[in-house]
Amino acid sequence: MSTTATTTAGPTSPTRGRGRSRRVREGGSGLGSAALTLFTWLLAIGFFMPVLWLVLTSFKQESDAASNPPTFFFRPTLDQYRAVFEAGAGGYFWNSLVATVVSTVLVILLAVPAAYAVSIRPVAKTKDVLFFFISTKMLPVVAVIMPIYVVAGRLKVLDNVWTLVFLYTAMNLPLAVWMMRSFFQEVPREVLEAAQIDGASLLTTMRSILIPMVAPGIASTALICVIFAWNEFFFALNLTAADAATVPLMLVSTMTSEGLYLARLSAASVLASLPVVLAGWIAQKQLVRGLSMGAIK
């Protein structure tokens, strides 16, 4: 409702003139511009509709969730959220947290020096190394799942959150190396050369000069790693059972053959998605750079 209010107010509002003079492409008649704005809004709301529906459903009773025609007006309830927590959501969230945070820390610890090596002080065959990294990103994980399963079984590390940490680190490392490389390349050469003339050791240079300069880069790299690790499903599905099961598996185990589970599944879905959605909303800019592996600034 507030949508229509804002958009119809558009043409008469004083902001319009300013907007037009500031931006080149804004041109066209005020009416056309308002129509375009309205269109954009409607499109966005339509596109967002499934998410809205998910959130609505999560506040319903099961019988309202699976009704035909759909129920739009109902007395909201927190029962489903309560049920999710009572079913032991804490354990799943804890595992996801450990797998995500530890793997991200490891990725950064490994990727920063590697990216430094391939950007600021290029080694021979840098390009090949870089392409090796990114090519591992393209391999279908399914091709290696059987050996990983069997080896993990032999090592007695099935259903163990550290196995996920290991695999998520491997999964995100190529991405992180590429991203960090693009950040290192923004460091002015002069800064580096000055440090070398000072005779500072590699570690000192890194710690005192480079790391502070690429700190924002590290943050956005970490964000991307967190998103991918948090949402990862395939390894978690195959390699965990009870002890190390992560949040995506909580969703799968909410689906029963019992029939009505939709509202509870929706509540679980909202909880599961919330951390990444919030992080993504806050860090929209970093998202772009991360998703393009550092290619787009």
Binding site: T7, G19, V24, R25, E26, S33, L36, T37, F39, T40, W41, L43, F47, F48, P50, W53, L54, A66, N68, L110, P113, A114, V118, R121, P122, V123, T126, K127, V129, F131, F132, S135, M138, P140, V141, V142, A143, V144, I145, M146, P147, F166, T169, P174, L237, P248, L251, S273, V276, V277, A279, G280, W281, Q284, L287, V288, L291, S292, A295, I296
Partner: protein, 323 residues
């Protein structure tokens, strides 16, 4: 565009070293070696880790692919040479799911790019609530894929109480049985919904990096907006489009969650893609040898295609970074 790439960076440093005649030959090679190592050392942990985590399992996969191992029948584990590979090429289902893989990847990337471009163009102007609209539009990408798969599979596409059928009913369309009558389309819709924001973000970044003065100049010269778009914006966007297609394809080609949760590859195998089919052969069929052979074939195919595409597209970005 000058084609200077990474090795070019090494040159100035190398020249400087060579230009120092005071160092004797032996000492220099020693120093060089030490220097080379100090360059390599920071790279090694990541490199070794990646090799261990990705290459060793793959070698084992190759080994499995040469054996006929049915997990349920321990006695079946014998060396059979290339017969698992031979079986793949006579398996009509494998061809069908390979085709599905291509269909999903192309369909999703193209549709998401068209939609994403549209959204990006709409967002690339100032209007009330721009930030909110942008936030709404990127949300589908941030929703956990497992959650969005069940959201589409159950809440949206359920034949009895799904929202989509209800909406269609408003305009008089008979309820459709989405996931079993149109499984590939259903999954594609869910995928496009998830990946459109990704494309939108990348293309939007491209739009916003356009030099403003050029656009202004074009408008001064009396170019229409369509002309400006076709002759200035589109060429500028080209490499952004290329990059988003490539990256999108890398992510989408390995789609698993949506297929697993929405249709389980069904009805039959009609909506399975390669990753899902291989998973099925391994974890529902327990035919490890066969599944491994399929895995190897897919990996080889991916490497060939990807290496080609990667070098082609990333070249643009890597060389401009240097300058």
């Amino acid at each position: 565009m000058p084609a200077s790439s990474t090795p070019a960076r090494q040159r100035p440093a190398g020249r400087r070293r060579d230009a120092n005649p005071a160092v004797s030959r032996g000492a220099r090679s020693d120093a060089q070696r030490r220097d080379a190592w100090s360059r390599r050392l920071p790279l090694l942990p990541a490199l070794v880790f990646t090799v261990i985590a990705t290459q060793i399992p793959f070698l084992i996969t190759i080994w499995y692919s040469l054996r006929s191992w049915n997990l349920l029948n321990p006695a079946s584990d014998v060396f059979v040479g290339l017969s698992n590979y031979a079986a793949i090429f006579t398996d009509s289902t494998f061809r069908q799911v390979a085709l599905n893989s291509v269909l999903y990847t192309l369909g999703c990337v193209v549709a998401a790019m068209v939609l994403g471009t549209l959204f990006a163009l709409l967002l690339d102007r100032t209007f009330r609530g721009q930030g909110i609209v942008r936030t709404l539009l990127i949300t589908p990408f941030l929703i956990m894929p497992v959650a969005s798969a069940t959201l589409w599979g159950v809440s949206m596409f359920n034949p009895t109480f799904g929202l989509v059928n209800w909406v269609l009913g408003l305009v008089g369309i008979e309820p459709l049985d989405w996931t079993s009558s149109y499984p590939v389309l259903s999954i594609l819709i869910a995928l496009v919904w998830q990946w459109t924001p990704f494309m939108m973000l990348l293309i939007l970044a491209g739009l916003q990096s356009q030099p403003k003065d050029v656009l202004e100049a074009a408008q001064m010269d009396g170019a229409s907006r369509l002309q400006t778009f076709l002759h200035i914006t589109l060429p500028h966007l080209r490499r952004y489009l290329e990059l988003s297609v490539l990256l999108g394809a890398i992510y989408v080609v390995n789609t698993f969650d949506q297929i697993y949760l929405m249709t389980a590859g069904g009805p039959g195998t009609s909506s399975a893609n390669l990753p899902y089919y291989i998973y099925q052969r391994a974890f529902l069929g327990f035919d490890i040898g066969q599944a491994a052979a399929m895995g190897v074939v897919v990996v080889v195919a991916t490497i060939v295609i990807a290496n080609f595409a990667l070098r082609l597209i990333f070249k643009g970005f890597m060389s401009t970074e240097q300058n």
